[in-house]
Structure formats: structure tokens, C-alpha cells
């Protein structure tokens, strides 16, 4: 495998990994902007703008954009997260030039009023779609509560109110502020000719405005709390438990992934044995979410409302026990083995590799080959997990429960008591480097 890197004079960074075994190529434009970079009055603009990027340019109408992508058989989409907005396409190698032509063109969108008004309706539908899904409603509430006023608590989609009130002018201003060449990384993986690719990108992007779009970094002060949201029409109780974890820029992220897998992978983890295997809950899993200056371990529980308090308590005890007694070598090896296998598979095709490459550059300004990633994963030791659990306060969780219950704590449930203290201690993390995000197209 071969790594290439070039920075254009306007600050646009281009990186590529040639994969001789692949039959296609994936390219992604990672714009380092997302919900956390929004001002309160523009909540949801990053995601709305991501949609608007596909609505046309001086050279193309919205329908032209779709037709041009489809004419080359491209797989393409975009997604918006808290910190990154990604536009990507995967094509056969002979269509790379066309794909770059379209992607670079749409990244200078016209943002026409008429398209803006129409697409606003689509965004409002997307918000309502998620509001009808209790798990997502609980997720949003949990993130907002956990980050307590920090920009990482912003909702990616915004709200019906913020989107309804948003003007085209506000979007244009946000666009000029954030979509500057120095704030964009282009990553390629698969089969491509590096010299030609750079030549094309110089031609298409060389005139993009230079500049930086700094982000105010301020580690969040996480506030443990518990909130119960009653929704009588919901069938099951949907609960999120959030605990602090290392940020994406930390070397501890590998240990965090291993720990999350040991504690909360969907098979064979401690939560699996405590809650799923005995049939107590329908879902009980943990994942590690990483951001530039923060991280969080998300535990999701879903079960019959009458079992909710007891299951929450059990989940917290499971975490507390790991904090108190540590984890076994054997569990660590199992987690490493699963993660290594997923890493290899996830990076086997150009799209997956492009994402790893791009996010690694966005967060670390570093290239890491798959072998290096595997080596870092395998190097995680038991004492690192112990240290990780000591460094992060896993004694106090942020808990959100959404479902038929008016009140979660039934007196017998330590973990769910109104305030904050839960009987857990350090947390767990889990894993995917991919940011949770919302994509352009609602697929089956």
C-alpha cells in the first residue's frame, strides 16, 4: 500500500492510499464543520447545508447533479455529524475524473432561495421521522443533557423551530465562514493515479478561498443527571446511560474501544451476559463516541417498562464491577480479536478505507496504515484498562429514560434515583470511529 499527501497553496489537504487489490475508488471531502460549530440561532444549518450542496450550482440544477452522479454509476452520499460533514462517492476507476468534477462543483453551491424553501420541507420531514422513533428521541435528549450547554450537545438536525426560522442568508454566511479550503481534507482510497488526481484537484479547487475556520475548543464539564420523559404511546422503555471517555485525539482511544467491547459488545460482552442472554432486555449495548476534545461511552437499554429500573441497576452494577475488579486477560483478547477482524473487514473496501483515512487525518493529522492500527489495538494491556477506568469518572452517569414510565426509580433502584449518583464507577467505551451522523438519503 502506498500513501500520498499534498497540500495545495490555498490550504486544501489531499491524501490517498493506493489499494492494488481493489476494483474501484472512493473519494471523500471532509469539511471540518458540524453541529458544534453552529450559533444558537442557526441550529441545524450544517446538516441543512449538506442537503443544499446537492441542489445545484451555476453549471448544474439539482436534477443535473443527481443525473450526473447516476450516469457514472456512482455510489454517493453525504453525512453530517457534530464535527465533520462528509461528501463522498465511490466509482469505477475510469469515472474518478467525472466524480471529482461533480463533487468539487457541488461544493460551491448556488444555494438558490427556491431550492432552499423546498429542501426545508425535506429537513422538517427528516426531523419528524426521527421524532417518531423513541430510540432517537432518547439519544438526542441524552446528548443534550450530558454536554449541558457545551456545543457538543447541539442537535445535528436542529429542531422544527430552528429550521423553520432559518434564512437562506444565515446559511450563506455559515457556508462562507466554514467551507474554506484550509478547513477541508480530501481523502482517496482504492485504484487511482495520484499525479492525475492532484492535477484535477488543483484545477477544480485551486481557486477555492483560502483560510482557516478555527473551532473554539473547551472541554465540556459533564453534568451527571437523570431525566425521565414520559411518552404514553411508546411501548418499550428506551434508556441511554452516558459516561465520560477519552477524546478522539487521545492514545487512550484504543483502550477505550477494547473496554467498551468487553463491557458492551452486542455478543459475548458483560452486558450481553447480564441482560440479553437471560432475556431481560431487548437491547443492551455500549459504544464509544469520540470527539475532538471529549468522548463518551453510550449505553443503550431497551426493555419492558416494568423491568426498566431493575435492568438499569444491573447495567450500572456491571460497569461498577469492572471498575472495582478490573477485567480478565481472556476478555481483552476476545475483544481484540473481534475488533481486529472488524477493522480488517471495515478497511477492505475503498469506501471504508477512505473513511478511516479521512477521519484519522481530521483528528490526528496522521496517516496510519491498517497494520499500524492493528498493532495499536493489539498493544492494549490490562493495566491500561485499569488506568482508563481510573482517569474517567464513571461513578456518575447521565441517564435519560423515554417511554411509558412517569418515573424511573421505584425505590429499589439505586441507579435510577432522581438525582445523579449511580453505583457505577468507571465506564466503558466502545468503538466506532465513524461519527454518528445523518445521511442525505433515507435508505431502506
Amino acid at each position: 500500500m502506498q500513501f500520498h499527501y499534498q497540500r495545495l497553496p490555498n490550504g486544501l489537504e489531499i491524501l490517498g492510499e493506493f489499494m492494488p487489490q481493489s476494483r474501484s475508488v472512493a473519494v471523500g471531502f471532509f469539511v471540518k464543520t458540524g453541529a458544534r460549530d453552529e450559533r444558537p440561532e442557526e441550529a441545524g444549518v450544517s446538516h441543512f447545508l449538506e442537503h443544499m450542496v446537492f441542489k445545484g450550482t451555476e453549471r448544474r440544477t439539482a436534477l443535473d447533479v443527481n443525473r450526473d452522479f447516476d450516469a457514472i454509476g456512482a455510489h454517493y452520499n453525504a453525512c453530517t455529524g457534530e464535527e465533520t460533514t462528509l461528501f463522498w462517492a465511490a466509482v469505477l476507476p475510469e469515472y474518478l475524473a467525472d466524480a471529482l468534477d461533480i463533487l468539487t462543483d457541488i461544493l460551491r453551491p448556488s444555494l438558490r432561495q427556491e431550492d432552499f424553501d423546498l429542501e426545508k420541507q425535506v429537513i422538517l420531514e427528516e426531523i419528524r421521522m426521527y421524532e417518531d422513533q423513541p430510540m432517537w428521541s432518547a439519544y438526542d435528549q441524552a446528548v443534550t443533557l450530558f454536554f449541558d450547554g457545551h456545543p457538543l450537545g447541539h442537535r445535528i438536525l436542529g429542531t422544527v423551530e430552528s429550521i423553520s426560522a432559518l434564512s437562506r442568508e444565515q446559511m450563506v454566511e455559515y457556508y462562507h465562514r466554514r467551507y474554506v479550503a484550509g478547513n477541508i481534507v480530501v481523502a482517496l482510497a482504492g485504484r487511482f493515479d495520484w499525479a492525475k488526481t492532484v492535477e484535477w484537484l488543483e484545477k477544480y479547487c485551486g481557486n477555492w478561498p483560502a483560510g482557516e475556520a478555527p473551532r473554539q475548543l473547551l472541554p465540556p464539564q459533564v453534568r451527571p443527571a437523570t431525566k425521565t420523559i414520559q411518552r404514553p404511546q411508546v411501548n418499550q422503555e428506551h434508556m441511554f446511560v452516558l459516561l465520560p471517555a477519552p477524546p478522539a485525539t487521545s492514545e487512550w482511544r484504543y483502550a477505550a474501544e477494547v473496554l467498551a467491547t468487553v463491557l458492551g459488545d452486542d455478543t459475548g460482552s458483560r452486558l450481553y451476559w447480564a441482560l440479553i442472554d437471560p432475556g431481560r432486555a431487548d437491547a443492551a449495548d455500549m459504544s464509544y463516541h469520540e470527539y475532538q476534545d471529549a468522548g463518551a461511552f453510550f449505553t443503550y437499554l431497551c426493555c419492558d417498562p416494568q423491568d426498566a429500573a431493575g435492568n438499569l441497576e444491573l447495567a450500572m452494577q456491571t460497569i461498577a464491577q469492572a471498575v472495582r475488579d478490573g477485567v480478565q486477560e481472556e476478555e481483552i483478547h476476545q475483544a481484540q480479536s473481534k475488533l481486529a477482524s472488524r477493522l480488517v473487514r471495515g478497511n477492505e473496501r475503498p469506501y471504508g478505507r477512505m473513511r478511516s483515512l479521512g477521519y484519522s487525518w481530521v483528528y490526528l493529522q496522521q496517516y496510519r496504515s491498517l497494520e499500524e492500527e492493528l498493532a495499536r489495538l493489539r498493544a492494549v494491556q490490562r493495566d491500561q484498562l485499569v488506568a482508563l477506568m481510573e482517569q474517567n469518572d464513571l461513578e456518575h452517569a447521565t441517564i435519560v429514560a423515554l417511554g411509558p414510565l412517569a418515573e424511573l426509580s421505584c425505590g429499589d433502584s439505586e441507579g435510577a434515583r432522581g438525582g445523579a449518583a449511580v453505583s457505577a464507577s468507571r465506564a466503558d467505551p466502545a468503538s466506532n470511529p465513524a461519527q454518528p451522523g445523518f445521511s442525505l438519503r433515507g435508505l431502506p
Partner: protein, 422 residues
């Protein structure tokens, strides 16, 4: 299924194929360029064999079957698969119990050994049934909190007669009553090598996998195919009242099954409707009118019948317009398809075909599916040729012969919609 000639062994292009006297078929595609390997096992024991008063039995079995097999107890199976880095699933499909797994290529054979025990020697322990039943009931409850999934489940139920249109999760009351004897009876009646398809793709050697499968499954005895009965045609319309913000809309109509002459034309029509973002549904419903975020159509096939399932979700007060626009697009299809549309469909199909070659999982699943529907594995050249020979005339002719009609319509939301007379 009849028994095939013993030890039939051949190479179909790059495919290693072998069918044993007991009726089990193995297909292997060697992909030396990848590091992983994937397998699919289709055991002809799907939920169509659920007893009429035991809807959900196959689904309970799909979980219980992993709870101890051969020399391993429940915990040991999970631990060993984890140690091998296998991602896996067992699910009850309509006709098959589907076993799927993928891992680093070196670990494939030990993973197959574990799954051979799971398939042939499961313990089906009585003490695990209460927990498994709770999970099955939980899945039924969770479905009610997923309006999109719910409307699609009901759409299939109202389109195909039972048991074809049944949901694998079954019936709450039946699952509550299920005994360990019921589950064991289902296993004994349905699990058999005749009709079982094992496919493997990845960095493996066909002959080696052939020897492994011979050792693991060669002595498995065939048995008669269990009986199942097709029920009456369902009501093709339903509204499910639900206090949601959006109304979920499902529309289905009959299509040509996989394996029939016009199959590629049928697939191309679905791509015209819902291939890329320039396809008709996305363009007309979302791009031009902003009626919804999600709208799509997808093709589904059994051996003897097939359907196109369409979905849209939108705010309740715009749902009627969404349904009307969706149906208008379906009815307009026989008017014809343009050259440009065909070219885009061809480009999309070609690139999907080539990109599928990069994925061991996709190939393993494709091999098994080809064998089940066609009794052979299509070569890439054959598929490419079929894609290349699609023309607007061929599609228009197909659409006139099989126009979208007799729609099944299911909605979920605060209020019912007006359903136009077919």
C-alpha cells in the same frame, strides 16, 4: 429435493461446486486478493414451516440453536466465536434458516466447525427457553416502537398470502405458549441436508473447503421435505391507527420472479423507480415536491412470485398527496422509459456488480442465492451481458405486459388516506 449424482465436483468459471448424495450443496469462490472469508448456510427450515398455532417457532429456534451444540455449552460457543473474531447471525427467513458469518480467512474453518455443530447437534436446552422466549416477545414489542419497520411488516402480510407474508417474529400469544417440545419438533421436522446450501467466499481454497464440508456434513442423513400450505389471499388494504407525527405509507404490487426470462427487465424497472437519486420516485416525490425525506422501492422475490415494495414516510397532512404522487409514478411506467434512464440504470448495475467483487460477504450471499433460485451460479459475463442488452423497448414491452396494478396499500399514522379505486 432429489438427490444429485454422488460426488459431483466441477469448476464453474472460478466457482468450486460440489453436491453430496444427501443433497447438500457447497459453492466456493476463491478471492485471493482479500484477507477475510465469509460463509452463508441456507438450511431449508424457514418460518413457513411454523405450525399454524406456533407462529414464531422458527424465530425462537434461531436464537435457541446457539445456546449449546456439540461439545460446547451456550457460553463456550459465544466465547469461541469471539476468540475467532467471527461476526455472525442466525435468522429465520421465509424458506430458510439463514446462518451467516465472516472473519479473517485463517479462522474460517474453525468457525465452520462450530456452525456445523450448531446446525447438526444443537442441545436446545429447556432451561434456556424462558430467556429466549422473553427475547422473542421483546422483539415483538420493540416493533411497535419502529413505525417504518412496522408498516413494511404489515405491507408484506397484506400482499402475500400466509405463510409467505408472515413476519418471522410470529404471534405474541403463540410465542408465549411455546414449549421446548414444540421447538425441538420444529428442528427435527425441518433441519435436513437436502436443499441446504453452503457458500463460502474469500481467501480460501475450494478443494480444502470441500474436504472440510465433506467431514462436517457428508454423513448428515436426508429426510422428507416437510409440508406447508398456502393460505388465502389477504386483504390488500389496511390502515394502522397510530399517534405519530408522520404517516408511513407502503405500496406493493406483483413483479416477475428471479429466474424468469424477464427478470432483468423487472429489476431495471425498479432501478428506474428507485436506483440512484435521479430515479423517478426520488425526483418526483422528494426533489420536485419536498414531500418526504425517505422514499424508495425495492424488489423482493420468492421462487414462484415476486413483488415491488414501495415506501414513503411523510407528515400526516401531506400523506395523501404523497400517496397520490407515488401511485401516479407507478401507473405512468408503461408509458415508457427513456434512453437516458436506461443508460443510468446500466451504469448503476454495472458498478454495483463490479464493486460486489470486493466483498467476500456479498459474494457468499450471491452464490447461495443464485443456487437457490436458479440451481446454478451466474457468471459475471452473463450478468454483464444481460445488463448491456437492456433497451427502452425491452422495458416498455415488459411494462405493458406486467403493468404495476392491483396495489396493496398499508398506511400507519393518525388518520387513514383515501385509496383510489385500482
Amino acid at each position: 429435493m432429489r438427490e444429485l449424482a454422488s460426488h459431483k465436483e466441477e469448476r464453474l468459471a472460478e466457482i468450486y461446486h460440489r453436491t453430496w448424495p444427501n443433497g447438500l450443496t457447497l459453492l466456493v469462490e476463491e478471492m485471493p486478493e482479500v484477507r477475510t472469508a465469509a460463509f452463508t448456510m441456507l438450511v431449508p427450515a424457514g418460518h413457513i414451516y411454523d405450525p399454524p398455532q406456533g407462529q414464531g417457532t422458527a424465530n425462537v429456534l434461531s436464537e435457541l440453536i446457539l445456546r449449546g451444540a456439540g461439545s460446547r455449552d451456550s457460553r463456550k460457543i459465544v466465547l469461541d466465536l469471539d476468540a475467532l473474531g467471527v461476526d455472525y447471525s442466525v435468522s429465520a427467513g421465509s424458506f430458510h434458516m439463514n446462518f451467516w458469518g465472516v472473519t479473517i480467512a485463517d479462522n474460517l474453518v474453525p468457525a465452520l466447525e462450530i456452525f456445523a455443530d450448531v446446525v447438526r447437534a444443537p442441545h436446545l436446552p429447556a432451561k434456556e427457553l424462558p430467556a429466549v422466549r422473553e427475547l422473542a416477545l421483546g422483539a415483538l414489542d420493540s416493533l411497535e416502537d419502529e413505525p417504518r419497520e412496522k408498516v413494511l411488516v404489515e405491507l408484506a402480510r397484506h400482499h402475500y398470502p400466509p405463510p409467505l407474508g408472515n413476519d418471522y417474529r410470529g404471534d405474541r400469544e403463540h410465542v408465549e405458549r411455546l414449549t421446548i417440545e414444540n421447538v425441538r419438533e420444529f428442528y427435527n421436522r425441518t433441519f435436513r441436508p437436502n436443499g441446504t446450501i453452503v457458500s463460502v467466499a474469500g481467501r480460501v481454497r475450494g478443494e480444502e473447503i470441500g474436504q472440510v464440508v465433506e467431514r462436517l456434513f457428508g454423513s448428515w442423513s436426508s429426510q422428507p421435505e416437510p409440508i406447508w400450505q398456502l393460505g388465502p389471499e389477504p386483504q390488500h388494504y389496511a390502515h394502522i391507527p397510530r399517534q405519530t407525527q408522520q404517516t408511513q405509507i407502503g405500496v406493493a404490487y406483483a413483479a416477475v420472479p428471479f429466474g424468469q426470462d424477464d427478470y432483468y427487465a423487472a429489476r431495471a424497472v425498479v432501478a428506474v423507480l428507485s436506483g440512484g437519486m435521479s430515479s423517478r420516485l426520488f425526483t418526483e416525490v422528494r426533489e420536485k415536491r419536498g414531500l418526504c425525506y425517505a422514499v424508495w422501492a425495492s424488489y423482493h422475490s420468492f421462487k414462484d412470485r415476486a413483488a415491488v415494495f414501495c415506501y414513503a414516510g411523510t407528515t400526516a397532512d401531506r400523506a395523501q398527496e404523497t400517496l397520490d404522487v407515488l401511485l401516479a409514478e407507478l401507473r405512468r411506467l408503461p408509458e415508457g422509459v427513456s434512453d437516458e434512464e436506461i443508460r443510468r440504470v446500466q451504469a448503476g448495475l454495472k458498478s454495483a456488480l463490479i464493486m460486489q467483487q470486493e466483498s467476500a460477504s456479498a459474494r457468499a450471499s450471491s452464490l447461495a442465492s443464485d443456487w437457490y433460485y436458479l440451481g446454478r451460479v451466474r457468471s459475471l459475463d452473463e450478468i454483464q451481458h444481460e445488463i448491456d442488452t437492456l433497451t427502452p423497448q425491452r422495458l416498455t414491452q415488459h411494462l405493458r405486459q406486467y403493468p404495476p396494478q392491483n396495489f396493496t396499500i398499508v398506511t400507519l399514522g393518525p388518520k387513514p388516506l383515501q385509496i383510489p379505486v385500482a
